[in-house]
Amino acid sequence: MKGANILIESLRKEGVKHIFGYPGGVLIPTFDVLYDTKDIELILTRHEQGAAHAADGYARASGKVGVCIATSGPGATNLITGIATAYMDSIPIVFITGQVPTSLIGNDAFQEADIVGITRPITKHNYLVKDVKDLARIIKEAFHIASTGRPGPVLIDIPKDVTTSEAEFVYPEKAEIRSYNPTTEGNPKQIKKAAEMINAAKRPVIYAGGGVIISEANEELKKFTEKTGIQVTMTLLGLGALKSDHPLSLGMLGMHGTVYANKAISGSDLIISIGARFDDRVTGKLDEFAPHAKIIHIDIDPTSVSKNVGVDIPIVGDAKNVLKLLTAQIKKPSIDDWNKKIETWKKESPLSYEKDSKTIKPQFVIEKLSELTNGEAIIATEVGQHQMWAAQFYNFKNPRTMLTSGGLGTMGYGLPAALGAKFALPDKLVVDIAGDGSIQMNIQELATAVMNKKPVKIIILNNGCLGMVRQWQELFYDKRYASTILSNFDTDPVTAKNDMDYIPDFVKLAEAYGAYGRRVTDPAEVEDALKDMIKRDETCIMEFIISPEENVFPMVPAGAGLTQMIGGMA
C-alpha cells in the first residue's frame, strides 16, 4: 500500500470523520486518496490557521481528537498560531504536514520549512516520518499521545516520497511507548490526606479549571461540591464545569473574575485546585495570592504542580478518578459561617453594568443571548473585551460549550473554532461572540461556513476599537489610544450609526460571502435581532454597535493582588 493510503487507512482506524485542511504541492498524492474517500470529509478552509482552529473547536466541543492537514513550508508555518493555541489549552489535535521529499530535506527546497524544529516547543510531541514503514505506528502513537495524560497537539511531518512509497499496512492494536506512561490514578495516601484536610477546613474554596472539562469530571465535581457545600470558582477554561447559576457557583475568578470569587479565594484557608494551573491571570500578584490558604492541587501534569504557587498536597492524576475517590472519603465540613459570608459578598457585589436605553451595552447583548438560548448554546469567542463579557454574562450550563483561547489569547480563534464545533455537533446552535477587531483576523472562514452550509452565528460587538488594549490605555496610559482605534467614529455611536465611519461594513461583508448580515444600533432591537439570528438556518453576522468606551469590570490591574479590584464593587 502507498504511504498516502496508509495515512488515510490509519485515520479511518482511529475513527476520524472530519479533517480540516488545505492542499499544496507535496500533499497532492494524499489529497488524491482523500478524493475517493467517502467516509472521511476533508473540509477545505480558506487559510491554514482557520483549519487549525477549526480542528481545535471540533476537539473542544466533541472531546474527540481534531485532525488538521496542511502543506509544507508556508502551509505548515500558517498552522503555528493554531498549534500554540491548542498547546496552551491542552487540546488534542493531530496535525499532519506535508514535507519536501526526503532527498531534498535540508536543501532550502521550494516550500521547505523545518516544521518539526519550529513546533518543538509548542507540541506535546512531533515526528518526521523518514520511512513509510514507520508511518502507521507513528500515527497510532500520535493519536495516543494527543489524547491521553494532559492532552495536546502532536505533529506528524510526512515527506512527499513517503506518501508515494509502498509498504505493507499493519495498524498496531496498541501504541507502545515505553517512555510515556501518564499517571491517571491519584495516590491513595495523598487523597486520604487531602480528605482529612478538607474535613478540617473552615474556609475552603474549590478552584476548577479546564482539566475538569477535559477529563469530563463535571458530574463528579457537582457531587463533590454538593456533598461538602464548598463553593466553586472556575477559570476561563473551566466555565461549564459547574453551571454558572448553580447556588454553589462563584463564577470566574481572576483578573476579570467576580468580586466574590476573588474575595473567597483571598480569604480562604484551603484551596482545592482541580485541573487548573494557577495562571498569572488567575492569581494576580503571587505574593498576595490567598495568603492564608493551604493548597491541594489535583492535576494530571506534574509540571503544573508547585510551578507558580507552593502546594501542600499534590495529587497527580486524572480529575475524574481522583474526585470519585476523594468524594467518597469526605464529610461535610462545618463551613456555614464561611458560606454565609460568601453569600453576603455575592449580594453586595454581583456582576453588573450600567443600563442604557440609548446605546447598546455589550453585557446586555450577552445576557439576552444567554436568556434566549437558556445557556445551552455552544459559545466560541475571539479574544478581548467581548471574551470577558461572554465569560461573565453568559450562564454556561454545560461543559464543552465555551470554546475560547485562554492560554495563548489568540484573536481570530472564534470563527473557525465555531465552525469546527458545528461540524462536530451540527444540531447545536453555535455562536461566535466576537469583537470588530478579532473577527477580521480569520473572517475568510465565512466562506467555509457558507459553502458547507454550516450556519454558525456571529455576534460582533462593534465598538470600533481594540477594546481591551484601549481599556488599559484609558486606565493606565492617560487615554493615549495608540493604534487601538479601528474606525473614524467621533466617539458618538449614535451619530456614527449608518455611515462608513465603521470599516468594514460588516453587513455588506456578510452579504459578499453569501451570509446574512444585520446591524443593530437600538437597544430595543437587541432581543428581536438575537431571535432572528437564532432562528435563521444560515450563517449570519449580527453586528451590534456598542458604546465605544465600555470597560470590562471588575478588574484586577496587572501585577496587583486579587483584592485590589477596580470597578464593580458595591
Partner: protein, 157 residues
C-alpha cells in the same frame, strides 16, 4: 546550587534539540551537557549540570520527565556518585618550560598527547575541581587553547 542530573533518553534524532530547547525556552541555566551511548544502543545518557534553587531544579526534573522521549531522570546530587571530565589543554612550552610542565602533568596523572617545538597538548581526566586546579597551575605558561568535555556521572553501587 549546581545539580548533576542524569537523563536516559530514547536514542532518537531530535532528542538533544528537545532537551536543549527546553532549557533555553524556560531560561534554565545549563553549565554543561554531555550526551553519549549507553550499554543499550537504543538509549542515550545525558549528563546535565544545571544551576538553580530547589524550586527550579524540581521544575527542571519534571519538565525533563514530561518529554515523551525521556525514559528516566536521576538527580545524582543527593546521592553517592562518581563524576569525571576530560580536558585537552594546549600550552605554550619552549624547551625551558617543558620539564616543569611534565612534572605538573605527572602529579595530576595527565598525559602529554602532542608536542612540538613551542607547544604541548595535555590530556587530563578527573573531577571538575581537579581539572580547575590543573588549569590554574598551567596558567603561568600561557594557555593557547582548551577544550573540556563537560561532566559525565554515574551513581555508585
Amino acid at each position: 546550587m549546581y545539580h548533576t542530573i542524569s537523563v536516559l533518553v530514547e536514542n532518537h534524532f531530535g532528542v538533544l534539540t528537545s532537551i536543549s530547547g527546553l532549557f533555553a525556552s524556560r531560561a534554565y541555566n545549563i553549565q554543561s551537557l554531555t550526551v553519549g551511548p549507553t550499554e543499550d544502543k537504543t538509549v542515550s545518557r545525558m549528563t546535565i549540570v544545571v544551576e538553580g534553587d530547589d524550586k527550579i531544579i524540581d521544575q527542571v526534573k519534571k519538565q525533563l520527565n514530561k518529554l515523551i522521549d525521556t525514559l528516566k531522570v536521576i538527580d545524582l546530587t543527593n546521592e553517592e556518585y562518581v563524576d569525571r571530565e576530560i580536558a585537552l589543554i594546549k600550552v605554550e612550552a619552549g624547551v625551558n618550560e617543558r620539564s616543569e610542565i611534565f612534572q605538573v602533568t605527572d602529579v595530576f596523572r595527565g598525559n602529554v598527547v602532542d608536542i612540538s617545538h613551542s607547544i604541548m597538548t595535555i590530556e587530563v581526566t578527573g573531577t571538575t575541581k581537579k581539572i580547575n586546579a590543573f588549569i590554574d597551575l598551567l596558567k603561568p605558561f600561557k594557555i593557547k587553547e582548551m577544550v573540556r568535555t563537560g561532566r559525565i556521572a554515574l551513581g555508585r553501587g
